[in-house]
Symmetry: C3
Subunit: 353 residues, 3 copies
């Protein structure tokens, strides 16, 4: 696992603001010689740390911050006298600075003696394979990967370069994965889809003979599951980001750059566009199509296709349980209530005449 | 893991339609000598593949398919001139043909040298136990099973014949499992139920001393969890099919042939009938009873017992976020709205007199 | 795994009611010499078992129970003639008796030869480390712990005394965990939070450099995931109890003694008070604050902060699918319906004048 933690004080290196700007652009206001060694929130930042203000709404936090420097947009450039980097997109700038100060652990090339390796396995240069990993026949792992302890890589799986696969990930046979893949602990890729046919009162299993195809730059959160296709493949396009405990059923296709929050369930053969954002615990029914640039709120079930970009929601507004009980009772009779209103309107109308 | 994948071209075998019908029944219309080697969707099928039409609604897909043969019902028998098998239940027929063309991997009898085996463990004939499996004292595994890498089988667990247990499944002590069991990667069976008693401001743990009892022909999807009973057992009857990431709490009983889609949560001591179908991300509260042949929609919470078979639903209909905001605001005052309507009705009524 | 199961008949020991009362308090009515060896439900209890009645509502079950003894409150003391222990909190009393009769397995001090141990690892006295566990450099594990098969403990992780960590748990680097920790199979602690910044149409990963800090007496259910903090830490306070398949995002704080049922999702930076109870499959949006002693119903999404203790709910009431269709259609026009009612009220009002 990475050792890029802020507690790892031995590796502390300090950079002057001007070094950071030389690397990532932006304009310095204030002392360009200020030294920073780590990123932090405005709230908790210390003298040797750099914080950021992504939203002018929180501008008041600048007043109390102990940060040695901050990253701000032009709009907030004058809101503080702390040494600051002014840039277009402070949050993205901060992401780059943080990645620079907290580089991911580099692989230490080599295969742990406990690894169980099948036949005809290819392992790229510089790749590190940790204890108790099992790699089946014909699998191929790219260069500069880290495959952490206890992972199982199935027959003929292909993984690109620079993968970082955390402990206990399972990838079933024949799945294809691009470069720069990150999978957190407990991820399962390529498990059988839920394909069943009822015959004479018993279920018959439909063999799941498709694969999972994953593009480049995909990250998958802890304990997320992605089923293989029934006949055709399940496809996750480039730069898709999946949070923890998401369930993706067989033959789903997720468009490039789409981000999906935790606990979402996506049913079979749903197609999701590019640049979508799906909120936590939302659901998408099977065989639907969702356009590009669609936002779905948390806890919303999408039960018909969405053809236009925009923001969609279907949350039951919570309230005190007492109040909920009264309103929920009415909800079961909403149709009747609408009918009564209509009758009353007609009655009133007729009297007018 | 199985190597029954369509990519595995070396194993391609061709069958004439008449050979398939000799095996599975049905009637051939058109050329009975047509050779097929794999199943496919109507959309993607090639000349050497057989597709199926389960629903007349999609009949138009027959026109463009490249399939060499199709499986259809009598109602669609004349909708195409492609060589076809006419049968009663095309989807089930297709399942059988697919299972024939894509047989599950046979176990290669033997125990990997890295397996850690307790005392008094029984392993049936023909069973394959892969690397890094840990089997505790007194466990018993049937014949012709495959226990894949990294599984942990607890003390005195009993597993029937023909099990296929994918990597990293954990089965806690004393659970009993029937024949033909399939458990996908990351499944946990027999973990402690959520049993707590509050005393003097602190939680006391209730020991969970029941077991999980699983019948024959049960399949459990990736990362699904089934808790052991608190005092009595948690029971999953024959031919129950569970998708991925389902949570089944202590003392639940699920009736035979019930199928449950992904991400469903079932609370403690709920009893679900036979032949039920529960949609994805639905929930069932504790101590409820659900009759046989009940269908619960996705995203629906069942918060009281269901005594009659039928289809039940409780989904908040999604809409544009803007529209949702307006309606959701009213929802908090629905009871008041109903009162106002009633008042108006009475007022209008009284004027009539 | 524990072998405290009721099937483990070899370990059966009998206790007289008076021995139990001597240990845990309460008052005996009836024969104090009755022997009990196990706890059970009123429904299934045998002569040598002790059952409990926690709720007077179920008093009628006393009539048919086969239990040799029961635990009751003063209010139910005269509802049966079965030998009984009368106490203030029968459920908590039962918990103590059950824990006494079903003690957790004691660790057998030692490290399995297959364990892969990093440098500078500390392991306390009496701790048992099972097969295929991987412990990284600088980790510290307390006394009398059991770390079961296949767990991965990251660099510099600190775990207190008496931990019981079931198979295949993964704890990422630098997390800190208190005493008496229980984590069920498949738990992931310290995985990266879902931190992304969009720049020029692509996602940038925000390094997640906080930790997970867990207090004393915390239990975490199977396949639950707890992400590390982005900059500051994710914090789980003392005596928090988490059920299975819960997702806790980065920088969440959960107050002491709070209990959360299965499948709940808690978004980033939410703060939950002490002594809260969150029902199954509920959700809590990011950056919210929830007061102490708040109860949230199952399936309820909390989408704004809750400042007062109490019970909150937002469940869509389920009904027959036919009825749901009619009502759901109206729900999309609720705002319009309210407007029409208002118009009618004004019209009727104006006529009165």
């Amino acid at each position: 696992m990475t050792n890029s933690n802020k507690l790892n004080l031995m590796q502390t290196v300090n950079y002057r603001l001007e070094e950071i700007v030389a690397r990532f652009g932006g304009k310095i206001l204030g002392d360009a010689e200020v030294l920073v060694s780590q990123v932090a929130t405005l709230d908790s930042a210390q003298r040797d740390q750099i914080a950021f203000l992504a939203n002018s709404k929180y501008r008041s936090q600048l007043e109390q911050t102990g940060a040695g420097a901050v990253i701000v947009s032009a709009a907030d450039a004058d809101a503080t006298s702390i040494p600051r980097i002014v840039c277009e997109n402070p949050y993205a700038y901060f992401a780059r600075v943080s990645a620079f100060l907290n580089p991911p652990q580099s692989p230490v090339s080599g295969v742990h003696p406990s690894v169980v390796m099948g036949q005809h396995v290819k392992v790229g240069n510089g790749t590190q394979i940790d204890a108790n990993v099992v790699i089946a026949d014909g699998a191929s792992i790219g260069a500069n990967c880290i495959i952490m302890s206890g992972c199982t890589i199935g027959e003929r799986v292909v993984i690109g370069d620079n993968a970082r696969i955390y402990p206990r990930v399972v990838i079933y046979h024949d799945c294809l994965i691009g470069d720069n893949f990150i999978a957190h602990a407990g991820v399962v890729i390529g498990s059988d889809g839920f394909g069943l046919a009822m015959e004479a009162g018993r279920w018959l299993k439909i063999p799941q003979i498709g694969r999972v195809i994953i593009g480049n730059d995909v990250e998958v959160g802890a304990n997320t599951t992605i089923d293989r296709g029934a006949l055709d493949d399940t496809v996750i396009e480039d730069d898709v980001k999946l949070d923890n405990q998401i369930q993706i059923a067989h033959n789903v296709r997720i468009g490039a750059h789409t981000a999906i929050a935790g606990c979402v369930g996506i049913a079979g053969s749903a197609t999701i566009g590019k640049y979508c954002r799906i909120g936590g615990s939302a659901g998408i029914l099977g065989h639907l199509e969702i356009a590009d640039y669609v936002e779905v709120s948390s806890f919303t079930l999408v039960n018909k296709s969405i053809k236009e970009r925009g923001s969609y929601c279907g949350i039951f507004p919570f309230t005190s349980t007492q109040n909920w009980r009264r309103n929920a009772a009415q909800l079961r009779h909403l149709d009747e209530l609408a009918d009564r209103l209509k009758a009353l309107e007609q009655k009133t109308e007729s009297k007018d005449i």
